[in-house]
């Protein structure tokens, strides 16, 4: 049980800090030069997707803590976080790198 609590709390806190840092980075982006704005946008999008993936994980483990029984349908949270959102985030990071290369 402690394992689930740790993971849920870390994931939730990670999500919150990522969102906070996303807002700060968004404000930093406004003061950066316009040349790197598209790449920066892609990077921030990736960060947002990564934070959503963490949120999905946090929800899954919170559900596990309160239900106290493992449910098969919870695998869809893994599908959302690891199968869809995480590769999407990595892909957007990759796209941002390619845009940086063009700059």
């Amino acid at each position: 049980m402690t394992h689930e609590i740790y993971i849920a709390s870390f994931a939730a806190l990670g999500f919150i800090f990522l969102i906070y840092s996303l807002t700060v980075l968004f404000r930093i982006k406004e003061q950066e030069s316009n040349r790197i704005t598209p790449a920066y946008n892609a990077l921030l999008f990736g960060l947002l997707i990564l934070s959503l993936s963490l949120l999905a994980k946090a929800i899954k483990y919170i559900y596990l803590i309160f239900s106290k029984t493992s449910i098969d349908s919870l695998i869809y949270f893994d599908v959302a976080s690891t199968l869809i959102l995480l590769p999407l985030a990595a892909g957007s990071f990759l796209v941002s790198m390619f845009i940086f290369r063009r700059v």
Binding site: L13, G14, S21, V24, L25, T82, A90, F93, F100, V103
Partner: protein, 377 residues
């Protein structure tokens, strides 16, 4: 179904790790190429890309799934925390420097960023002042309406009172009672009047406050006007600058066109120069050939001169011989003339001889005829 999904999940994790490794390599190459010069601070981006590290570590072999999950989530959490702190710090440093720059623009308004300053700092203040002005005007209107309503109420009450006075003139008691009531009502009216006066005083105070606010507002307005004038001047200046830049661009474009034309002409000239060089080379070759020919001609001329001298010598010889020949010819001609004369004489002789021969033949014929006649006889 769930097994398939778990297999897919593990495959996707490997894919994500691979993508993060590729991203790290590209970022390292970009940093070597000097991408950092474009950013004010790259720590935020470094930390953002470092978020992939827990996902790579969690895929290391011989780690239980619970621990790998723990590593993944805790790593992301720690990195997110660090990212938040560093990004906040960077933002503060960048923002303070930016604000300083913008405040410096107040002293130096002839700067293109002055407009941005006006937009970000002055415009919200103007909006707030406008809102305050609206509120004050509304407050003034409300107070005026309240005073008007009170005055109307008082008028109606006074009218009612006067009507009551007319009705109650019939009996003294009633009048006394009425007078008592009236006194009480008068007291009330006085109280109300006092209240009204207080309200009037309050309204006057409010008016004074409004006037003070108005004067402040006017001052602010004047300041705004001045600032707007400045902004307008700046705008005009910027427009002039823009026009200059546009004209400069146009001239630059024209010059570029001229340069292009010059380049084209240069190319053509270069081609012509090459052609001329080639022709020069050809001419040089021809000149060399001509020189060689001239030398040959000189040689030939020398030879010719020698031959000419020989020829002249020969000619002199031949002329001598020709004179000799002429003399001989004249002699021969004289001889021919003499021969001709002799020939003519001979011909005359031959003619005379033939005439004599004919005469002889006739005489011979005659003789023969005479002989025949004689024979016959």
């Amino acid at each position: 179904m769930s097994e398939l999904i778990t297999q897919l999940l593990t495959a996707q994790r490997y894919l994500v790790a691979l993508l993060f490794i590729i991203i790290a390599i590209i970022w390292y190459r970009l940093k070597r190429a000097g991408i950092e010069s474009l950013f004010k601070s790259t720590t935020a981006i470094n930390l953002t890309l470092l978020l992939g590290l827990p996902f790579i570590i969690s895929l290391l072999p011989n780690i239980p799934s619970q621990i790998s999950n723990m590593i993944e989530v805790s790593g992301v959490f720690i990195l997110a925390l660090i990212l938040f702190i560093f990004s906040l710090r960077d933002f503060h440093t960048i923002d303070t420097t930016r604000k300083k720059q913008l405040m410096e623009l107040l002293e130096k308004p002839k700067h293109p960023v002055a407009l941005e300053f006006a937009r970000k700092i002055v415009e919200p203040e103007i909006k707030l002042l406008k809102k305050e002005r609206k509120n004050l005007l509304q407050y003034e209107k409300d107070i005026q309406e309240k005073i008007r309503k009170r005055e109307q109420e008082l008028d109606t009450k006074i009218k009612g009172q006067s009507a009551k006075e007319g009705k109650f003139n019939l009996s003294k008691i009633e009048i006394e009672e009425e007078s008592k009531i009236l006194k009480e009502q008068k007291k009330l009216l006085e109280k109300e009047k006092k209240e009204l006066e207080n309200l009037k005083d309050q309204s006057e105070d409010a008016k004074e406050e409004i006037q003070v606010e108005k004067s402040r507002f006017e001052k602010q307005r004047e300041k705004d006007k001045k600032f707007r004038k400045k902004l307008h001047e700046e705008k005009l200046h910027l427009d002039l600058e823009r026009r200059k830049i546009e004209s400069g661009r146009e001239t630059y474009a024209r010059k570029e066109k001229i340069i292009e034309q010059i380049d084209k002409r240069n190319e053509i000239l270069n081609k012509k120069l090459q052609e001329i060089k080639e022709k020069e080379q050809e001419h040089e070759k021809k000149l060399k050939a001509l020189e060689e020919r001239e030398e040959l001609l000189h040689d030939e001329k020398d030879e010719f001169a020698v031959a000419r001298r020989k020829f002249e010598a020969d000619k002199e010889k031949y002329e001598g011989e020709l004179e000799k020949f002429r003399r001989k010819r004249e002699e021969l001609l004289i001889q021919e003339n003499t021969l001709q004369e002799e020939k003519e004489a001979l011909e005359k002789l031959t003619k005379s001889l033939s005439a004599k021969e004919k005469h002889l033949e006739e005489e011979l014929g005659n003789l023969l005829k005479k002989q025949r006649e004689m024979i016959e006889k």
